[in-house]
């Protein structure tokens, strides 16, 4: 399809002995305390924890927005030294650009790589269709609802074809109905694309429902205190999430995650 799909998969995300401290000497705030974590290609890892525990810090370190105080992070055999196109980021607050229309936002990644206009427009339209925003392609982002903006952001990341998608509480600011709809959409996108996903959330239910693997982080300084596989994300698309939520397995894992958090 495009030059990027020829690229081989970047490989597993490895977080090795990562510690992170904010602030300068005298006023140091430890945010992460020795995190060791490997995320295999194709996994959908959800990371839950109380607010302020450092889960966003971990995501930003993997994204390459900052460097860890100690330890290192790599993707495949390459150390993370900064942001890169193979690691797409979906932010909690949509970071869409108001000077571009919705289509222009989604086509931005390919544009930066020099993909011809016709091709990148077609690509943007494909992903806008995938997230159900075809009718809004010519609008400006600020004319869209919060849920639509978040969908646009997801389409923008996917249109850039990253191997790894880092999502920082992407549905946290949305109302419950929209959130549930987007959770379903995320699962079908993940099934369709096979991306590696790290999904940060403060919702226990969301973590258990979406993850193939659920992590829980302790309050600051963050450590990973629970790491369990979860079967629900891999369930067939035909199964209603309501039925999943009603199952005893779901209740059991939810209980354990909740215990780990508190």
């Amino acid at each position: 399809m495009t030059a990027t799909s020829v690229r081989t998969h970047s490989g597993a995300v490895r977080v090795a002995g990562v510690e992170h401290v904010f602030g300068s000497r005298g006023a140091e705030v430890p945010a992460l305390d020795r995190i060791d974590l490997t995320i295999e290609p194709g996994e959908l890892v959800t990371l839950a924890g109380p607010s302020g525990c450092g889960k966003t810090t971990l995501l930003r370190l993997v994204a390459g927005f900052m460097r860890p105080t100690s330890g290192n992070i790599s993707v495949g055999d390459r150390e993370v030294r900064g942001p890169g196109a193979e690691r797409g980021v979906v932010f909690q607050q949509p970071t869409l650009y108001p000077w571009l229309d919705v289509r222009g936002n989604v086509a931005l990644g390919p544009k930066l790589r020099g993909v011809a206009k016709a091709e990148r427009t077609a690509r943007a339209d494909t992903y806008l269709d995938l997230v159900g925003l075809t009718d809004f392609a010519d609008r400006r982002p600020y004319e869209l609802s919060g849920g639509m903006q978040q969908r646009t952001q997801i389409a923008r990341v996917l249109a850039n074809d990253p191997d790894i998608v880092l999502m920082d509480e992407p549905f946290g600011a949305l109302d419950a109905l929209t959130r549930e709809r987007l959770q379903g959409e995320l699962l079908s996108l993940w099934r369709a694309t096979g991306k590696t996903v790290l999904f940060i959330t403060h919702g226990v239910d969301e973590a258990v429902l979406l993850g193939t693997r659920v992590l829980v982080m302790s309050p600051r300084p963050g450590r990973i205190v629970l790491d369990e596989p979860a079967p629900f994300a891999a369930a067939s698309a035909d199964v209603d999430p309501k039925d999943l939520r009603a199952s005893p397995e779901f209740a059991e894992l939810t209980r354990r995650v909740r215990e780990a958090i508190t």
Binding site: G64, A85, Y97, P98, L112
Partner: protein, 274 residues
């Protein structure tokens, strides 16, 4: 969200009533004996007459048949155009220097630390303080005036650009870097467009500043030039002409501001919405 005032509508009525009131009051004062000598208080009609004479070929008056072209051999609108042209050149130079400098100072911390104090220093100098120095360096003709306008206009533009750059949300830049942008692409495709509204605000401030400055600068060898004409006509006791010039200067400033607001709305329609 604040609603923008409508450009057209029924809101013009109070403004028209006020304007008529001012004109009536002015006429009454001018017709009265309150101000002596009477030529110091021309009526609106006399000012209009001076305005028309200044824009046409007219007899020099005083029983002499000779016909002259406008005032000081230029029509009033030509005086205005000359002043506007000086502003335009000074402003273009200020934008060409101020915006890249602002982008550089906004993005590179060390450049900001080194160059910042100089910019603050330049900004704090009233532009007219340069005038004597500039005349000594560049002569009494347009070069010194354009330098002056440049020096007046570029600090507000550079400062607004710096503020704009620093106000760009960090994650807007992070997002484009995660899409694979290089540092340079991040500046051209995110930082610059995100800063556009601030740059335009800076330009608006700079135009106002430059306009004030050019009119004052034309006190020295300012002809042709609307500021020069306003000054000279006053010293020659052509008060009606002087008032006409003052009105033209004020209305031009308002028109300039309106045009820039229009450009702002066209180039940055998202302002205040995102």
């Amino acid at each position: 969200m604040r609603r923008r005032p409508r450009l057209l509508g029924l809101s013009w009525l109070p403004a028209v009533v006020t304007a008529v009131g001012v004109l009536v009051l002015w006429t009454v004062v001018a017709a009265s004996d309150w101000i002596q000598p009477a030529y110091l208080a021309p009526s609106p009609l006399e000012v209009w007459d001076a305005f028309v004479r200044a824009n046409t070929y007219h007899p020099v008056g005083g029983g002499v048949d000779r016909v002259v072209r406008g005032e000081e051999n230029y029509f009033l609108w030509e005086h205005l155009v000359v002043s506007l042209r000086r502003i335009a050149i000074g402003l273009v130079l200020a934008i060409l220097v101020g915006v890249p400098l602002g982008l550089l100072m906004g993005t590179v911390e060390s450049v900001r630390r080194v160059a910042g104090p100089y910019l603050d220093f330049l900004r704090s100098i009233p532009p007219l303080a340069y005038m004597g120095f500039l005349v000594a360096w560049f002569g009494i003709y347009d070069t010194s005036k354009i330098w002056l306008l440049f020096l007046a206009a570029f600090p507000p533009i550079a400062l607004a650009t710096i503020n704009g750059v620093r106000g760009v949300r960090e994650d807007q830049v992070n997002a484009v870097l995660s899409l694979g942008a290089s540092r340079r692409q991040a500046v051209t495709s995110v930082v610059l467009p995100a800063t556009t509204p601030d740059i335009l605000s800076g330009i608006r401030v700079a135009v106002g500043f430059a306009w004030t400055t050019v009119v004052a600068a034309e006190l020295v060898n300012g002809l042709p030039g609307i500021g020069g004409l306003a000054y000279l006509s006053g010293t020659q006791n052509k008060i009606a002409l002087s008032v006409a010039c003052i009105l033209v200067i004020g209305l031009t400033a308002i028109a300039l501001d309106f045009v820039i607001r229009l450009i702002e709305r066209t180039l940055a329609p998202w302002r205040g919405k995102a």
